[in-house]
Symmetry: C3
Subunit: 140 residues, 3 copies
């Protein structure tokens, strides 16, 4: 469900860094009960001539796009709180490397989402807990 | 209009598979009258260290993002029906190769969409049928 | 804030073309007062077998996805006007190279957006003008 696309400059991350980052992102969602396999993280590396910030070739920079499906946020304050939590996940991996970063979240309709041929169970349901425990989808 | 981005593991598809998949996607939309050229499919291959599911390097997996513009769906049941139809298109190409897949659809404002310098004609209009028949945009 | 993803055929652009295009995109937003560094442009090159239009391998083509966060547009006519302005920015770089193009814009919630650890200042605010003048984020 959450899909993170991390556009980044070359050499921002090693393979080990990528996995540590992806695991922290995954942990953010499993802590609220979502199955780990819902969390997909794509790292997209771009040469400086192919990622430009303010018209200038980017280096040492991340641009993160987060797509949320399963859970939508209520009001403006709840959104800002979520943004600060997500920011902390990114900052943990960007700050030690001196990387500049920007992120935004889009929210899309839950009904237009399926996993491996199945409609995902409702958020907080017993079936979802089963999916989380087995870390894979199953008929419910 | 529909833009499909198919994030996939290396070697999930040959060039021939990609085209067969893209043609089935295109057929899904032309059957309801949309011009074939509206349908853009991008295949984005990611090494296992750059596509992670649940914090683990992915192999044999697809993550499909579908952006719909021209036609928005009505209620919850209509959306679920559409999701099942889209699922069938993906499953046809994922299942025989044993690929795990997840997809979601986003819907965006029709007014913020143009094709080769032209505002696209209304859905179901005579002008749209002309675009479909010539398979290219033209002043209307 | 605006994120432009430009899917393109190989050799559609040189590095110089990419920068000139990205600068014109940036200028579109700085003219209304936004900081230049808000504007991120990613060029994503795809071989013909990995970008298909109407089921056929694409060449000489662009598919542009624009994500707007900071400013949302009011009604249908305002949207269409914005689309025509954005179209002019793309056409300037696509037409001389004979490139076919399509674009659409998505709008996402402003509250779910942060820049380098900071909540961006309101549109048109004095703090935003400071960010624009220094071309970098700063506590406000």
């Amino acid at each position: 469900m959450p899909l993170w696309t991390i556009h980044h400059s070359p050499d921002a991350f090693t393979s080990q860094h990528k996995q540590a980052f992806a695991r922290d992102i995954t942990g953010y969602y499993t802590r609220i009960g979502l199955p780990a396999f819902y969390v997909v993280v794509v790292f997209d590396e771009h040469a400086p001539d192919s990622m430009l910030i303010g018209g200038e070739p980017a280096s040492g920079a991340l641009r993160v796009v987060i797509e949320h499906i399963a859970i939508h946020l209520g009001g403006s304050e709840e959104m800002k709180g979520a943004a600060r939590s997500l920011d902390a996940v990114i900052a943990k991996h960007a700050a030690p490397r001196g990387l500049y970063y920007e992120f935004h979240v889009d929210e899309t309709p839950r009904e237009l989402w399926m996993v491996d041929g199945l409609e995902p169970p409702p958020f907080g349901s017993r079936a979802e807990a089963v999916w989380a425990a087995r870390n894979s989808p199953a008929p419910w």
